[in-house]
Symmetry: C2
């Protein structure tokens, strides 16, 4: 099968490398790059029309990132009857339903294994369990950058900014790290995972998200004392045809599996009625692991196995974070009466006040943190898993 590759950066060059080594039926026909300077041979072009209008190209692989023109390119490819494989979680989460419906209308495959969990075979396995099981919980560590930062802060005691700089030097964090450290990347992956498992399109605005930007080494000291480890988790819980979906830092017991996920690894978990707990651990990003996931999709298209894994988003489940409750750790720079009233314990030192609230709904905590920030508080919070 002949492939048109959109983008030849980290992941794209990995896709080329693996396909060339495979010596199978897959062949890179054209490669779209931004600038004529990036064109290494006759396969390269800066003109998308050279790919999308090439009748020999069966599949468009979109690994260019960003919302535009990725969205337009994907839609045009599908409309012209070309299968699409995408690793771009941002554009998928923003246009999931449109992509899926366009693919269906034009009898094309739309495959997205690499978008969530990187090299971890998360999407396919989630689809396989959804065909048998009622999946009542999905959770996990879906972002390698923040896991690297948290792991380093826990292990070295270093402060956030120092570790972030180190992560940027190692290529684990981008120059503008906002999408990672503010949890937006995980929010996108939660939207995708909820869609796969529950056939419903969850809107970005429905998923409260709190990142790790304001975590300090004073927080880490506190967690050490309580024998807890902080991880940034996505949670999707299905109960009575409603979904709780949210992203927040979470304090885990230090001997839990998630607490021991090191470096920039991810772990993606599902709980089903018959299968119990299943967890998938691996490289959530990086050139070759992500490219491997892209190539898995390509092989599934080549063998037509993809026919049994069509993504369907035809249900509308209500998102409700009011009934999802747990205790929270909250660190503010100054005393806060509202927090004190709802807390079972608190302490203070020169770095601020540290609360442990009673059980609180996710909706309420995320709303409260917004209000407090508007009132000028600097704060960090994390759910507490007992």
């Amino acid at each position: 099968m002949k492939i048109g590759l959109l983008g030849c950066g980290t992941v794209g060059s990995g896709v080329v490398e693996i396909i060339e080594k495979l010596k199978g039926s897959l062949e890179i026909q054209r490669i779209l790059v931004k600038s004529p300077e990036d064109c290494k041979d006759a396969r390269y072009t800066c003109n998308y029309a050279d790919l999308v209008n090439d009748p020999e190209i069966d599949i468009i692989v979109e690994v260019m990132g960003g919302l535009h023109p990725a969205r337009e390119y994907i839609l045009e490819a599908l409309t012209k009857g070309k299968h699409v494989v995408s690793a771009n979680k941002a554009v998928i989460a923003a246009n999931f339903k449109e992509f899926v419906e366009t693919a269906k209308a034009h009898h094309c495959y739309f495959l997205i294994e690499a978008s969530t969990g990187g090299g971890i075979p998360w999407i396919k396995n989630l689809q396989r369990y959804a065909r048998i099981d009622d999946i009542f919980e999905i959770t996990g560590i879906f972002n390698g950058t923040t896991n690297y930062i948290l792991d380093q802060m826990h292990k070295s005691g270093a402060d956030f900014d120092a570790v972030l700089k180190e992560a940027q030097k190692l290529g684990y964090a981008e120059y503008d790290p906002s999408a990672d450290i503010d949890g937006i990347d995980v929010q996108n992956k939660a939207i995708i995972s909820a869609g796969i498992a529950h056939n419903t399109y969850v809107y970005k605005e429905e998923v409260p998200v709190f990142g790790i930007r304001d975590l300090t080494c004073t927080d880490i000291d506190y967690f050490h004392r309580k024998k807890k480890v902080c991880k940034l988790l996505a949670v999707i819980r299905c109960l009575n045809d409603e979904l709780a979906v949210y992203v927040e830092p979470t304090l885990l017991n230090e001997n839990s599996l998630e607490a021991n996920v090191p470096d920039n690894f991810n772990i993606c978990s599902l709980s089903g009625v018959t299968i119990g707990d299943l967890k998938f651990y691996g490289q959530g990003a990086g050139k070759l692991p992500t490219a491997n996931a892209v190539v898995q999709d390509l092989l599934d298209i080549a063998s037509d196995e993809a026919k049994d894994y069509e993504i369907v988003l035809d249900k509308t489940l209500k998102v409700n974070n009011e009934n999802e409750t747990h205790a929270y750790y909250v660190h503010t720079d100054k005393a806060c009466e509202t927090l004190q009233e709802i807390s079972r314990a608190y302490e203070s030192n020169a770095d601020g006040v540290f609360y442990e609230t009673g059980k609180l709904s996710v909706a309420k905590m995320h709303e409260l943190s917004k209000q407090l920030r508007q009132q000028g508080y600097k704060l960090f919070f994390a759910g507490i898993r007992e």
Copy 2:
């Protein structure tokens, strides 16, 4: 598709339960049980001919366990053109090549997801990575009974026999626990995993195995002091077209992922050149998780997806455990000069002598332990992972 079910014990009844809930194209046509007393309705029979000669039955599901008549039933089914799904690792490991070749000769599928890792989607994912990647290491915890015993011994400090009895009471260990605690069950799963990943049939005699029968709470005390956790691991390492394959207790750093696998859970890991480390965690046994894996295979047959996952054992890789080396912990009931000579450290107390050897080949350590046992030593050993 119509199914003939061999055995309706724990896993078999789970298969019936899941299929009835699915309300799909799968249908249990006949169920083979041992005694007329077990026949609940007209589907039940004690006569295998009623299944294997029924032209309506497409698939035989073998969840009866044991070597005979399971082997003969599987071969007869395949010879008569019926697909076979088996969860029976013992019979598969003993007859892997014969089953695979008979299936091929008669154009049938032979699927074994439930045989290794129970509910964990290990076999299928291993096949998917083998199609792209060079898998250079497979390792993991492949037995829930021993993991439960080890976890309890570490957490409660109780002795082996007490924990084993508790495990038997909970249904985690069999009345005769030998296959589990002596590592034979893991050995079978190592043979199956090596076959899937490397297309080679490894013989039982080639896989040295050491179990946990002689582990004591004195050993656990020692491990606690060294901040290590003992797990029973299978290892398959591929180097220069040779395989190291062995099963032995292993001391892991207490913050490693494997060290934190609790209760009767399993974790199955592969390392590939492009994918890096991938780990799959879940219920390695039990009624519904194992039945779920059986049903996954059935759905893959129904959709014909199984056509791309034919097991092939057409290579002959040499098994060599001479070049696989690491340090070992050895506990003997009395002093041993041979061990002392090869050890970097040792200590003794009323419970015996505790050695930490220098780097030693797996072949050498397993051979030495046999010799020492023949000489009347009581001993336990475990590889040390630094």
